[in-house]
């Protein structure tokens, strides 16, 4: 390992000032679980790491106001997993944590890092995107807010400037919306997923309303499936509708071939798991994924 500078600012403002708008070897580190692996593998060699552990504690809080859940970017995944508000309001998020890496990683990894990393195989981005989450971003030039799925611009790529940081995720009140996340691993239970499918929707009078369908892992970035959402909106979740939604998603998703499986196979998985995700959200006792 080549020596580098490690700085520990005491405030968000100070942290932002220590980042460099031009230099990609200067990076913020939150939990460091992903960054350390990249450094160990030699794919990232920092000149300066800006450690965020010392910034104001409000950035690690999970709060509710006016029905909206706000997750500070420095909250650990374990804190998210154990939070009473999350458990009560977003059971899908709590459930997703059980198969998200392992307890040692969850104790250290931070929500902001998990979002900013840009790895399409991670579990939080699709689940949060399906819940209609927005990310709050601070930078030297000011603050901005984005729908979560708009954070991603490509494989391991985000729209964040080099001197911007995610400060929070905001999830709107879900009311009676139903949600599910299907993590499909192709080789071993603790493998990176071959496919992630997250859905949420309102359900009234036997019909799906305002669905959000998100695909991850099989695509180069977390992607909303507008065509499938269109099929589902206003329709009853019967076999024919779910099959058409699956076909629409399979046709639209830019699925890649990799070590987890061929694009052709993952497209078939998408058809099946989109249906299963909707059924799971409805509590129809769909067959759970291998886990």
């Amino acid at each position: 390992m080549i020596p580098f500078e490690m700085v520990e600012p005491k405030s968000l403002k100070e942290a932002l000032a220590l980042l460099d708008p031009q230099e990609s070897t200067v990076r913020a580190v939150a939990g460091g679980t992903a960054l350390m692996l990249m450094m160990k593998a030699g794919v990232f060699t920092p000149t300066r790491l800006v450690c965020l552990h010392g910034i104001e504690s409000e950035y690690a809080r999970i709060t509710v106001s006016a029905g909206e859940l706000r997750i500070g970017a420095m909250a650990t995944l374990s804190e998210l997993e154990r939070d009473a508000n999350v458990a009560a309001r977003l059971p899908v998020l709590k459930r997703a944590m059980r198969t998200l890496s392992n307890v040692r990683v969850r104790n250290v990894a931070r929500v902001g890092g998990a979002l900013a990393h840009g790895d399409p195989h991670l579990d939080l981005p699709p689940v949060l995107a399906a819940l209609g989450a927005r990310v709050s971003i601070s930078g030297a030039g000011g603050d901005r807010e984005l729908p979560l799925e708009q954070l991603y611009s490509g494989y391991y790529e985000t729209v964040l400037a080099k001197d911007e940081l995610i400060t929070a995720v905001k999830i709107p009140a879900q009311a009676a919306r139903k949600a599910a996340y299907m993590k499909v691993t192709a080789r071993s239970a603790d493998d990176w997923p071959a496919l992630g499918v997250a859905v949420s929707f309102a359900f009234a009078d036997g019909a799906i309303r305002d669905p959000i369908v998100v695909v991850s892992a099989a695509t180069e970035k977390v992607t909303r499936m507008a065509a499938a959402e269109k099929v589902l909106h206003g329709a009853a979740p019967d076999d024919a509708t779910l099959a058409r939604a699956g076909d629409a998603a399979a046709a639209a998703a830019a699925i890649l071939t990799d070590a987890h499986g061929s694009a052709a196979y993952k497209r078939e998985l998408l058809r099946v798991y989109l249906r299963r995700a909707v059924r799971e959200a409805l509590g129809d006792g769909a067959r759970p994924v291998r886990q």
Partner: protein, 755 residues
């Protein structure tokens, strides 16, 4: 108290769970340098130049060493157990991606690592061969000339051979296969394949060499300390007593750490710089050291009207990678079991060890047997299906019974094959109907049995030292790598000497101190070293009795040893050394027919039964139940034996369902634990592990080895169960969900199209 058969916890368990156990990784010597290996980036090429200037210029770098530097120290720097084909660092040519080309030495391992990234090598790229069947043709030749080690008589004819990739061809001829096939009612033929996978011990390879003053000391994570001593002495042209090899606990071996791995390299480096040198590989570097043979197995059987197999022809191609390692022995010593545990009169076996431009392949928990069982037990199931016979009945009809000659001609003595099959059938309640599921979830079940010969001829020597207070120390060069050999040997010695096993201390391999052992491999230790320990303990007991007689005590006295010593020497003084060698008899296979009536000192038998559930929409296979059964003779420690069985089965489960080294133009594309998936705890199915009642009459207290037996049946039992569940047959490992899905779609007449 009976010490043999006691279920005591492993003696080292407390030291291991509290983190106090000694491992080579923890060793630091004064003045020690760390080496980082620079590896080949092309699969096959002539070395044009190696640019080391930038690495040398890094502050803190002691030096950069290449193959040419090694050649100045050792004129012929090639090693290997069967062929002297592997250079300590690449010379003239590189033969696989990841082959060591140069080493940076520095006091700081991070400096060495950084500097190694600055080395650049240029190659004249050569066409490469990766497939074992393609390598049968001499179009692309990996080695210009074959260089057998000379220690094996059956390799001598290969010396100096050029223009070939065949490192060994083994042939066995029994009866008249062609005539029997011509007469047979049905002739059924299949081809099965296995993938390249690897051991992935959680302690990666590590070795430290200390040049010393006249005696070179090697501290290493290695399963064969005696061999390392012999081979390093040969390389330097020294007597063996100038090389000392010390081995503490191993964090897993599984056949990876046999013979010479890093030891020649650290030794040469230490002698070049006259300082201790340590090289510790990363998990990722293990993908370039040693692997399990990919295979292609063509198997053809003739079956009579009565459902008896009358003839079987086996052609097995072993993909040995760039260096032979122990592959030629796999080819022969496992090759002769290729027809399976069946009583077949007419047999042909043709087994070929091939060089290719892949990471070398060697021994991996089963020494080739799991690849063979995969083919012959899948084939056996398919024949039973084609004949409409229940697969267990079909096996019973053809099984080799006690004392019947196996293909080689050696009788199957103390091999409880039928009992293992019966135990699996009983556990699975085979005579009861299975709930076959419905809709998109279908269930099925399958069985498979296999067997293995022990490596032969080999020698083990043990020393038992009874001190004047009666406390006893056992000296062996067996390596305890988690299999529990320390505990088993303590139980054997304690049984003979009437002590408590927990009170016996074991000295770990140190070739200056512990006597010769061929190696901890092939499930041989409990039988070979176990017998040596028993004999050494008996020798000590006899000497204690002689001492008692000298002290004037009556014959058969029950005076404890401490009292005997005191009476004899007048104080707490003296000691008694019991020593023994054990080497079973052996007859080499006939050069023409491949036959021998004494090819192994004992047989290992193992089998598995699986119940699986297939998701017909995704191809996902869940193992609902895995039954493992073995004949391990009379177990010395049943608890440890069962954990060996489950450990082997879980390892083979990974090779069955998920593990595969992916290769793209010779490059391993998934050389990490993130991308090469071994089973995790949530992948382990409900398992039942059964030790069938048996006895190895020539074994220590009726016991024999079982470290590998749990691997034999797992893969074909699962493939057979999948076939039973959904009617598709998988012919190649691993059986991923996608593989099953594609087979299901093909079965439905709408194969999955890749856009």
């Amino acid at each position: 108290m009976n010490q043999v058969g006691r279920d005591i916890p492993r003696l080292e368990v407390r030291a291991k769970v509290t983190g106090r156990a000694d491992y080579t990784h923890n060793l630091r010597l004064p003045g020690m340098l760390y080496g980082k290996v620079f590896r080949a980036t092309v699969p096959h090429g002539r070395i044009r130049c190696i640019e080391t200037g930038a690495a040398r210029a890094v502050p803190g770098v002691q030096c950069v060493v290449t193959g040419e530097d090694i050649r100045k120290l050792i004129a012929e720097p090639y090693y290997g157990p069967a062929f002297h084909d592997q250079p300590i660092l690449a010379l003239d040519k590189v033969r696989h991606v990841g082959e060591p080309v140069a080493v940076v030495l520095a006091s700081d391992p991070h400096v060495a690592e950084h500097a190694a990234q600055l080395i650049d090598a240029e190659y004249q790229e050569l066409p490469a061969v990766y497939d074992e069947v393609a390598a049968m043709q001499p179009d692309i030749v990996v080695h210009d000339m074959l260089k057998p080690a000379g220690t094996f008589a059956d390799l001598k004819h290969l010396k100096g051979r050029t223009g070939t990739n065949i490192a060994l061809d083994f042939h066995l001829r029994r009866g008249d296969v062609d005539a029997a096939l011509a007469r047979a009612e049905r002739v059924i033929e299949h081809t099965f394949k296995t993938q390249q996978c690897l051991h992935l011990a959680f302690e990666p390879f590590v070795a430290v060499a200390d040049p010393g003053d006249g005696v070179l000391t090697i501290h290493t994570s290695n399963q064969t300390p005696s061999f390392v001593r012999t081979e390093i002495a040969r390389l330097f042209g020294w007597p063996e007593n100038r090389v000392r090899v010390k081995v503490p606990y191993l964090g897993g071996g599984f056949g990876a750490k046999v013979y010479v791995k890093l030891e020649a390299l650290v030794s040469a480096l230490a002698l070049l710089v006259r300082r201790p040198v340590k090289i510790a590989l990363t998990m990722e570097e293990q993908f370039y050291m040693i692997t399990k043979h990919p295979t292609t197995f063509r198997i053809k059987s003739g079956v009579g009207k009565d459902g008896r197999v009358v003839a079987r022809a086996c052609e097995v191609y072993w993909n040995g990678g760039a260096y032979a390692d122990i592959g030629p022995r796999v080819t022969q010593k496992s090759g002769f079991t290729a027809p399976g545990p069946y009583d077949i009169e007419n047999i042909n076996i043709d087994s070929y060890a091939l060089y290719t431009n892949r990471t070398p392949a060697g021994a991996l928990r089963g020494f080739g047997i799991p690849q063979l069982v995969w083919a012959y037990e899948s084939h056996t199931d398919l024949i039973a299906r084609e004949l409409g016979i229940d697969p267990i009945d079909f096996r019973r009809k053809n099984i080799l019974h006690q004392n019947r000659p196996q293909a080689s001609g050696t009788p199957m003595t103390d091999a409880a094959i039928a009992k293992v099959l019966d135990a699996i059938a009983a556990r699975l309640a085979w005579n009861k109907k299975l709930d076959r599921g419905s809709g998109t979830v279908r269930r099925g079940r399958g069985v498979a049995i296999g067997f293995k010969a022990s490596i032969s001829p080999t020698t083990s020597v043990a020393i038992v030292n009874v001190a004047a207070d009666g406390s006893t120390t056992l000296y062996t060069s067996t390596v305890d790598m988690g299999q529990g050999s320390d505990t088993a040997f303590a139980q054997i010695a304690a049984e003979v000497l009437d002590f408590k096993a927990e009170d016996i201390r074991i000295v770990h391999p140190d070739t200056d101190v512990t006597p010769y052992d061929m190696g901890t491999l092939g499930s041989r230790s409990l039988f070979h070293m176990g017998n040596a320990v028993r004999l050494a303990a008996e020798d000590a007991r006899a000497k204690l009795q002689a001492l008692a007689a000298q002290a004037g005590l009556p014959e058969g006295t029950n005076y404890p040893p401490a009292e005997v010593f005191k009476k004899r020497f007048g104080m707490q003084a003296g000691n008694v050394i019991g020593a023994a060698s054990f080497v079973p008899t052996y007859k080499s296979p006939d050069a023409q027919t491949g036959l021998s009536d004494n090819v192994t000192p004992f047989w290992m038998v193992g089998g598995a039964g699986a119940e699986v559930e297939v998701d017909t929409e995704t191809g996902d296979v869940r193992v609902l139940r895995l039954v493992n059964a073995v004949d391990c003779g009379k177990p010395i420690n049943p608890g440890v034996a069962r954990t060996q069985l489950s450990g082997a089965a879980i390892m083979q489960l990974g090779f069955t369902l998920s593990e595969a080294m992916q290769l793209d133009a010779g490059q391993v594309t998934n050389a990490s634990l993130a991308d090469y998936k071994i089973p995790g705890i949530r992948d382990v199915p409900p398992m039942e592990n059964e030790l069938v009642e048996a006895e190895q009459h020539t074994g220590p207290f009726g016991a024999k080895g079982l470290g590998e037996s749990g691997t034999f049946g797992v893969s074909p039992a699962i493939a057979n169960a999948i076939h039973d569940a959904v009617g598709v047959r998988i012919m190649e490992l691993p059986i991923t969900a996608e593989v099953v899905f594609r087979a299901l779609r093909a079965q439905q007449g709408r194969p999955l199209e890749d856009a």
